[in-house]
């Protein structure tokens, strides 16, 4: 598998994403945001977490019009897989490559902790190694993770089965208590229409080693590697 990790000024999870990809023996390129060409034979692009452009204006807004994002859009149309984690998710919604938007957390607090997710769709390139409705433990660390979409967009998301993960309790129940940030319908991650783009607020790349709390994120990278 051939991957690329894009770094913006203010990205801070690019190294973790790089390590996760190396762990599954992918070849990895590190790409600076001013690049205006990406290799056509990439299998996966990761837009990592962090605080691109200082979160000025709106989280992800400025990065979404960086030169490299034009290339990401071009490759998305060709079917290349793109994973946006945390700030990467915000960038992809701002770039209109994913539906919805991430608002400030409901309680106005930066939240950094482990929590539970339910895998809502395992019939995708990103989640084929998970069991249906598997409960996984993955950390979050964000200020603007409150997923929102207008009703017609939400209906489309549900009708097309685009919800990737929901925030749940350890038994898999969707509830207000298990919702850390106010996300509508407890949505923690969504796919695009073709399901080759995934955005999620939780950090799978921080859950690849049991020594740091969980290795439940590793299966996502193994799912992607499973295709080759």
């Amino acid at each position: 598998m051939k991957s690329a990790v894009i770094t913006f000024p203010g990205s801070n999870c690019d190294r973790d994403a790089f390590d996760a990809l190396q762990k599954i023996s992918s070849k990895v390129q590190r790409i600076w945001h001013t690049e205006s060409t990406l290799d056509n034979d990439l299998d996966l692009i990761i837009i990592p977490g962090g605080f691109s452009f200082g979160d000025y204006l709106r989280s992800g807004a400025m990065a979404s019009i960086s030169p490299v994002i034009n290339e990401v859009s071009r490759l998305v149309n060709k079917g290349v897989r793109v994973l946006g984690i945390c700030n990467g998710f915000q960038i992809l919604t701002e770039a209109k490559l994913l539906p919805g938007v991430l608002l400030r957390n409901e309680k106005m607090k930066f939240i950094c902790r482990e929590l539970y997710l339910r895998v809502e769709n395992v019939d995708t390139d990103f989640a084929n190694k998970y069991k249906a409705r598997e409960i996984i433990k993955i950390p979050i660390a964000h200020m603007d993770g409150n997923f929102f979409a207008p009703n017609d967009t939400l209906k489309m998301i549900e009708d097309e089965n685009l919800v990737a993960f929901r925030y749940v309790d350890e038994f898999g129940n969707v509830s207000n208590e298990s919702n850390p940030n106010g996300s509508i319908l407890n949505i923690a991650g969504v796919y695009n229409h073709k399901k080759n783009v995934l955005g999620m607020m939780p950090h799978p790349e921080r859950a690849i080693d049991i020594n740091t709390g969980s290795e439940d994120g590793l299966k996502m990278f193994e799912s992607l590697n499973n295709l080759f």
Binding site: L57, L103, M108, F148, G182
Partner: protein, 82 residues
């Protein structure tokens, strides 16, 4: 032309900052007559063009492409002086 662009969350979108400000105004400062606090932002800029139609076109374009996320925000602008 000097322009001020106002950007605010749409009414239907939860404004957590406005809500927090309202809580403090009402509870801490005791202004129980205050409600519906919303916080927005403005962007000042100068455009080297004195044709209002051209200016409107530029503002609409930059709001559409960067300054405003139309899923959640509305904007308006005023020309400050010529």
């Amino acid at each position: 032309m000097k322009v001020r662009i106002y950007i605010a969350l749409k009414k239907a979108v939860l404004d957590t900052q406005g809500k927090a400000i309202e809580g403090v105004l009402v509870k801490n400062l005791g202004h129980s007559q205050i409600s519906n606090v919303r916080q927005g932002k403005f962007v000042d800029l100068e455009i080297a063009d004195n044709n209002p139609d051209n200016v409107k076109k530029i503002i609409d374009e930059i709001c559409d492409k960067l300054l405003v996320n139309k899923i959640i925000e509305d904007y308006s602008f005023e020309i400050i002086n010529n």
